[in-house]
Amino acid sequence: MASLQLCLPFSSTSRFRYRPVRCANERQALFNRIAPVYDNLNDVLSMGQHRIWKRMAVTWSGVKSGDNVLDLCCGSGDLAFLLSEKVWPAGKVTGLDFSEDQLSMASSRQDLLSKVCYRNIEWVEGDALDLPFSDCFFDGITMGYGLRNVVDRRKALQEMFRVLKPGSRISVLDFNKSTQPITATIQEWMINIVVVPVASGYGLAEEYEYLNSSIKEFLTGKEQEKLALEVGFSTAKHYEITGGLMGNLVAMR
């Protein structure tokens, strides 16, 4: 286990920097690099709250026993494992990610956890912008901390719409780009003062500094709703949680 070496908040290594938008290859490499400590850092940085947010995302997806569901940008599999418990015994879960290392972690966790229901999960290395699935295939789709990271959010939503069965829902969890100045300031402060110093203890300061710029470049809740409706979803609603720090888009085809 890496030891945590907290940096002083205003040292030269933790100046508030906003990194430019990165291309898909750079983002893929970033997620490969953080894969070994991803789960650990999620727990530490959110004080375990990410588990609650993910359970909420799964509930909002409306998936039930027997459903065939997709988790996009599945990473190390947190949402896929939760979905698996919901759709078991007859349902199936497909977890897709473009990071080979994250999928490797997910597959290893599946073996280690060895819960019977987790056998219904399959992993696919793929691109959220070009999904290798037929039209109208899935009973539900989730995406956790993925929409902010794809290079073309419209295309990602279009692909989700395409592979979703009519009457089914997507549930997209991510940081909330708040329109409230105080919330936005607190969020930025927490990332710069807490998240980045903790991440630097794992040698990943640069990777986590990416968070602030990606939130600035993200869509607000209203913008996400508008885009989902433009793409063809019949309803779209964005819910803010944890004081507006996180948000979850729910849209139905």
Partner: protein, 88 residues
């Protein structure tokens, strides 16, 4: 125990599970795929590209596909068969 169960679900020669064989399509053309047992890869005949399978995980990121040689797509014509050679 889980590893043995997973192995039983996979096609013996291809390493791809039956579930995935049934649901996957070409990420670009959305047309059916086939598994090439000789190379253990997934072939999209519609666009003439092969995709690898690593540890049972199909890799269908478009940029990671390899364009197939013309020989691989002319099997029925009795063209020279140099094996499943692929351009990098």
């Amino acid at each position: 125990m889980v590893r043995i169960s997973k192995a039983l679900l996979k096609e013996a020669t291809t390493g791809l599970s039956r579930t995935l064989s049934e649901i996957l399509v070409c990420p670009l053309s959305k047309q059916p795929l086939r598994v090439c047992e000789e190379t253990g890869s997934i072939i999209s005949d519609s666009i003439g590209v092969s995709f690898p399978i690593k540890d049972g995980i199909p890799c269908l990121v478009p940029k990671d596909g390899k364009i197939l040689d013309i020989d691989d797509t002319l099997k029925d014509d009795g063209a020279d068969d140099d094996g499943a050679t692929k351009r990098n």
